[in-house]
């Protein structure tokens, strides 16, 4: 990617960069800790959140494994995770790469990062669960950085049975 062709300031404010990195670190800590009720708070009210197989993403097929279009839908998902979806409980552990800032415009900061999620069920071996790339748009809202878009494009298209918790 030709960074200079995009709206990247020649030197991104290091404090802004650190703030974005902190957003990703806090996001991972949230979804790995089981505090799902805090998860929607990382998003804007009119956000989009998608977990989409790479094949659909690259072929322009619109189906996603999960596709939500508002913070309210994320809150409904939290209710599903905690109250309605029957599943074997598991730990998940996100490992997220350094961030790649691809564009800074008035509509937000385009950020990408690789991620790896390990699943560990009780008394079972840890296993690679889901791996892919976040393609996100981060905006400042009420003084805090939030995700206006988070798209989890996963390589691991053969899902090990089910995905319950947020990626």
């Amino acid at each position: 990617m030709n960074a200079s062709a995009n709206n990247l300031p020649s030197r991104l404010d290091p404090f802004l960069r650190a703030e974005i990195e902190d957003l990703y670190a806090r996001y991972s800590a949230c979804v790995d800790s089981g505090h799902y009720e805090a998860w929607p708070g990382f998003f804007t009210e009119a956000c989009t959140y998608k977990v989409i197989p790479r094949e659909n993403h690259e072929r322009g097929l619109p189906l996603a494994t999960l596709a939500f279009e508002s913070r309210a839908m994320l809150e409904d998902r939290v209710y599903g995770i905690t109250q309605t979806l029957f599943h074997q409980p598991y730990y998940q552990r996100h490992s997220v790469s350094g961030i790649l800032i691809t564009e800074v415009t008035s509509s937000g900061i385009a950020v990408e990062a690789n991620y790896l999620v390990i699943r560990t069920r009780s008394k079972a071996l840890s296993e690679v669960f889901n791996t892919g790339r976040y393609i996100d748009r981060v905006v400042r809202e009420d003084g805090s950085l939030r995700f206006a878009e988070k798209c989890c494009v996963f390589d691991s298209e053969m899902i090990p049975n089910s995905i319950i918790y947020p990626i």
């Binding site: 619109p62 189906l63 596709a67 309210a72 839908m73 309605t84 979806l85 599943h87 074997q88 049975n161």
Partner: protein, 418 residues
């Protein structure tokens, strides 16, 4: 491994009939091998793909029938060939792309090439190599390219869906489905052009038959699935019917949604959430379509390989690909109709949040199937009990019955000779 799963003793089936299924039916590798032979390699049709996945000449898609990998490819004459993915020369699974477009099929190992109907066309050094005035090598004089094509399956393309069979003597597809099932098939696939919305894939650590049973089981949806019972998408007090073909192998669960809420069927049901409301109800923005002609849900189980789903506005095929006795891959293909408005397409996609490996409803199914398989492995001599609605087998005008599971095992026992 537990020796019991390898026992050569005859299966002990309950004298009462197919309502009791020995656990070993789900875990025994020897039985599994026979199932592949009798249900996937002979006498049966299997799902291959949707026509809209390979619309143009040369378009191909790689998929599976049973545990055998095949390539579905559309020729310039518009017909679809389904070819087994191994080179006739040295057996290499030569096609390594999931989909694409090709004018010929070429194995990279020795460059044997095939036309789009699987006929062998090119064999390097067929007549040998000229060197120093003599010819070295070459195939024997009696070598005929026509003897070495790819395995080509019998194919039928019916209103937008491609089916294939390794058995050239299999009955015509319409007869295979039978008059009870065909109207429900043609309700969804009435000849309208389809559009591909995308895929979901999951590996479920359970025997492949359990997925057929899951969608022949109207007992669980209103109990396991909070969303179904709470929002009235599937529960025991709905106007419903269960239909099966004359063999008991294929079935349709048909129902019409109601308003949900509290009632006899929610008494003591812990998954029912009386006060549950959605903060953003667009996920359940159901709009009836004229072609429904009544039912809001029809779930077709076409034995052995596919489930065809209409659950309100969500449409999909769910393809079952066995992976040994203890797992199967489950490939979901969501589709719509070419005539859909953008709003209807968006609605189908929103409702897809209920289904697939993360769906509000379907994620539960994969999880309980995994738990069943674990239970079966503990002691293969036990048996399941599927006796809701009695022990007999037949269609019903309600959904409080496990008759479809019994029907499937009546057929299973006949074909397997157990």
């Amino acid at each position: 491994m537990n020796d019991r799963t390898h026992s050569t003793a005859p299966l002990e089936w309950h004298p009462g009939g197919p309502s009791r299924v020995p656990y070993r039916t789900y875990v025994d590798p020897a039985l599994h091998a026979i199932e592949l032979e009798r249900f996937f390699n002979h006498d049966h049709w299997a799902y291959v793909c949707l026509s809209c996945e390979i619309p143009n000449a040369g378009d191909f898609k790689r998929t599976w029938i049973g545990e055998r990998q095949v390539i579905a490819v559309r020729d310039i004459d518009g017909t679809v060939s389904v070819l087994e993915n191994h080179c006739a020369h040295r057996g290499a699974q030569f096609c390594q792309k999931d989909h694409g477009n090709a004018t010929e099929l070429v194995c990279p190992y020795h460059q044997w090439s095939y036309d789009l109907k699987g006929n062998l066309q090119g064999v390097p050094f067929l007549r040998g190599v000229k060197s120093n005035g003599r010819i070295n090598g070459g195939m024997p004089g009696d070598f005929r390219k026509s003897d070495h094509g790819l395995t080509r399956l019998k194919v039928e393309e019916w209103n937008g869906v491609v089916f294939g069979s390794f058995d050239t003597a299999v009955a015509p597809l319409r007869d295979y489905l039978g008059p009870e099932i065909t109207p429900w098939y043609e309700r969804i696939f009435d000849g309208r052009s389809l559009t591909l919305l995308g895929y979901n894939r999951q590996r479920i650590p359970g025997n492949w038959k359990l997925m057929q049973e899951n969608i022949k089981d109207p007992y669980h949806p209103g109990l396991l699935h909070t969303w179904f019972v709470t929002f009235g998408l599937w529960r025991a007090d709905q106007k419903s019917s269960l239909v099966m073909d004359a063999h008991g192998r294929h079935a349709v669960m048909i129902s019409s949604k109601n308003e949900g809420g509290k009632g006899d069927v929610t008494q003591g049901v812990t998954s029912f959430k009386e006060n549950m409301t959605l903060k953003d109800a667009r996920v359940l923005d159901v709009v009836p379509e004229p072609w429904w002609k009544g039912p809001t849900v029809t779930m077709l189980t076409l034995f052995p390989s596919v489930i065809i789903q209409q659950q309100v506005n969500s449409l999909s095929t769910r393809h079952i690909v066995p992976v040994g006795p203890d797992a199967f891959d489950f490939h979901w293909t969501h589709f719509g109709y070419a005539e859909d408005t953008p709003e209807m397409t968006r609605r189908r996609l929103r409702q897809a949040n209920l289904f697939g490996p993360a769906g509000y409803v379907s994620a539960d199914d994969g999880e309980v199937i995994e738990m069943q398989q674990a239970g079966f492995r503990q002691h293969p001599d036990y048996q399941t009990v599927s006796e809701l609605g009695g022990r007999d087998i037949g269609s019903t005008d309600h959904n409080v019955s496990e008759t479809l599971i019994r029907g499937m095992y009546g057929y299973y026992r006949k074909v397997m000779g157990v």
